[in-house]
Amino acid sequence: MEDLSTGSESDYSNSWISWFLSTKGNEYFAEVDEDYILDRFNLTGLNGEVVQEYSRALNLITDTLDEESLDDDVRESVETSARFLYGLIHARYIVTSRGLSKMLEKYRKADFGRCPRVYCYSQPLLPVGLSDIPYQKAVKLYCPRCEDIYSPKSNRHGSIDGAYFGTTFPHMLFMVYPQMIPGKGQPVGSSSVADVNRSLVAGQGRVEGGGVSTTSVATKAERYEPRIFGFKVNEDARLSRWRTAKRDAQITRLENLEREQGQPNL
């Protein structure tokens, strides 16, 4: 491991995973439990055909590889395969309940960065893939406030494979933790950091509309309105009105559904 120029962090952590996580650029990854990796069921479909040097890579991840016996070239390729394999396992792990709670912790610390959109008020982001197949698309960041995806600021993160996170992850997270769904407007009062923390602690927080229904949250969303000397721009304003109409149509639709079901839309 010494030859991999990891800096001083690697000195005190002797497991491959903790070394990998401490490497610069890997901040998005959560720690996959060793138990999870050791359960072969979780690795179904991952084999020598998908991952080169599969068994050695797996041994490296679980710290059971005798590295001394390998020459540098082989070690290099095993190392690469191990990262790849770890990524693929990671994508599976983070949609499990253990994985989700670990990622939630990272989300809370805003490890994945914050939304660049001005009217999202520095909303913490979540990583998302655009494909579950490796080597297709790099990782993107999903903002649960504007529900759109953005490219990571840094090239280090911009080159991570999106398949290491998968297309499902952020949406699964909010399915499992609906209390974490942020409101759409300006966070109430305090800064967004405090807000996230508060809603985590209280287990409720920023869900608007009485704490249960998210039907009409979109009305709180702010939009940029281009103005020339204070006057709205015709075409932009027309598009904006059209979008308002679409928004309200959706809200009406959802409210009707809610009424029919006689209960809030959970």
Binding site: E147, K184, R227
Partner: protein, 351 residues
Amino acid sequence: MASSAPPPELDPDELEEEAFDSSSQASSTATSTLTWINWYTSLPGHDYFCDVHEDFIEDDFNLTGLQAMVPFFKEALEMVLDVEPEEDSSKIPDVSIVESSAELLYGLVHQRFILTKVGLSCMVEKYEAGHFGACPRVFCHATPVLPCGRADMPGIDTVKLYCPNCGDIYTPPSSKYGGVDGAFFGTTFSPLFFQQYPELHSAPFFASTPSTIPASSSRVSPSDSPVPVGGSTFTNPNPHGGQKSALGRVYVPRIYGFKVSERARSGPRMKWLRERPERADELDNVDWKGRFKDGLASNDQDDLMQGQAGILSRDKSGKGKLFDDEDDVEEDDESEAEEDGVGPGIDAAGI
């Protein structure tokens, strides 16, 4: 610094240099040949600024009202224009005060300058060279962005970046722009810029895939106008509107390949923020309050049906199709997807 107020015969360049050394990274050698403006716009974090032409600043008419906003106006103006300071400059307690006044003055003049024809053409050059960066939104595919302010008065907000494709504003990616006041660009600049250069602004409508183009154009009644949608012959019927073909894809959240249903509590609520109508005339279906006009009230009903049944034959303007909401989005739209998406959505959300 107060004690080091320069004697009148001191070269103004040196005067600035002194101030800058105290603040930061002025190179001590190059300043003699640089004008203050060149120097200022080349500082790190100042690359959004263009060089305001000196004759613009020298015209008093362009400075109307600024005297009241900028302390030490006269000295600041001299500094910006590299004019020898006059005798009474020694009265100024601290040269760094003049320095910050000069920056304020320059910023406010800059706000006015970039609205002029010359200023706009300076900025379009910078825009096309990509000096302002690109939109971080994935489906804007790195559309170049333009600096804009949210206020015209200084000290309110920092500079933001406007994307002409999604029409939204973003925080600059680097903290070095955190010190640049949005008022130095102003609220008017970016909309005016795209009025001047509509070919750089995206049209407000978007037809999903090339395959739908024949269908959609055949739906256009002859009276509507000859609107070829998409492709190289793209035109916006509104001559003052954006003339660029929009990058209109919208992100669709999916769980294991199934769309997250809007009926789930965590379902999509913000798709409208990025959506566009398929054709320009659909914008007219909305009244001034942002409601679909009467004849289209059934539209909501149809959308409701779609929400319930997963299948829809919307008849908004004499056309029937499946899945109005999603069809501008993807290539892989299968008819089962939506309905199946409802299942997991509700189940999981019910936890």
